[in-house]
Symmetry: C2
């Protein structure tokens, strides 16, 4: 990794941290891109080269999560029930959260506090989630050997999986350590698995 790339990564994190702190301090809506840019010592124009939008500051973690789930999916046996495979994807995300650096978990917690305090922002996070849902539906349809445009069970499986994820992350974040959040999320996964009829997602 050359100097250029290291520098970019550093700026990226500087922008992100500056933004998160400003958001928590004075609110998301009342923080302007100009302020963030100033705090991170870059021009407003440059800001939009690091993050495609102000939203992206808060939703970037979806990119990473989606990647992890897709990778996990690729490693699961094809004859495993799809919902089970997706839940393994979720657990992989949790494992990733648990094993990340202190700085990263700090950002994670700030993010969750933000989403928790701001329903509008939470909504946009869910909107970003539909993109993942679409991608996962394609993947699951491929694994099940069905056409994603024809098979609604595929969509229901993915939608239920994403719902589980959302419910797991949603509530327990007002306060709490990463460990607690992850534990709560595991409970939610088990609750969801218990709620579904065995074999519902097969065939």
């Amino acid at each position: 990794m050359g100097l250029r790339e290291r520098k970019k990564e550093k700026t990226r994190l500087a922008v992100l941290d500056a933004a998160l702190d400003l958001f928590l301090e004075q609110g998301y809506e009342s923080t302007t891109v100009e302020q963030i840019a100033e705090a991170a010592d870059i021009s407003p124009r440059t800001f939009f080269r690091y993050f495609t939008s102000k939203d992206h500051l808060v939703l970037w973690f979806h990119d990473h999560g989606e990647e992890i789930i897709l990778e996990t999916l690729a490693g699961r046996p094809l004859d495993e029930p799809p919902f089970t495979s997706l839940m393994h994807g979720l657990r992989a995300v949790l494992a990733d959260v648990e094993s990340s650096t202190d700085e990263d978990t700090g950002r994670f917690l700030k993010l969750r506090r933000l989403l928790d305090a701001n329903p509008q922002l939470f909504g946009r996070s869910v909107a970003r989630g539909t993109q993942t849902e679409h991608t996962l539906a394609e993947a699951i349809a491929g694994r099940r050997g069905v056409d994603p445009h024809e098979d609604q069970l595929t969509h229901l499986i993915v939608a239920f999986a994403m719902s589980t994820m959302r419910v797991g992350f949603e509530w327990p974040c007002r306060e709490g350590t990463v460990t607690e959040i992850v534990a709560r999320m595991r409970e939610t996964i088990e609750l969801a698995e218990r709620s579904l009829r065995p074999g519902w997602d097969a065939s």
Copy 2:
């Protein structure tokens, strides 16, 4: 209803129809509020007095749907399993769609075509859905006699119900009459009910 209110309703529909047609013609993003206002013969400023945002043109139907579901919920027996009650709410929405005027179903179909063609917009629709989810969670928690901040099963029930709704509406709208869409939605409801373990939602 006085002259004033009738006039307002008329303008409201004029704006809505003008906007839907423009969106379908030239795309959502590339249609400006100015164009819509001109087509509806009002000032841009007035536009924002009828619709809180450009998005609202496409998401206003959520307002109506939410209302119907809440009313239905209020009429269901308290000892009915919550998911079942919510599915009755969904069916009430379907009944409403079926029984509306030709003009309204026309708007409904245009709307669905729009959401279908534009993933971004679809995302925002889902984001608006989280608002409903929140409201419904309060209602269901009340019915179940639990604290919505503590009980995650409540959230899972509502999330699964909303997922069912989304999956049902999502796919079948590329072409198709209202009857077909409603029929497909009913299938999805049944699929969801079959997928869940009996009694899963009964505390």
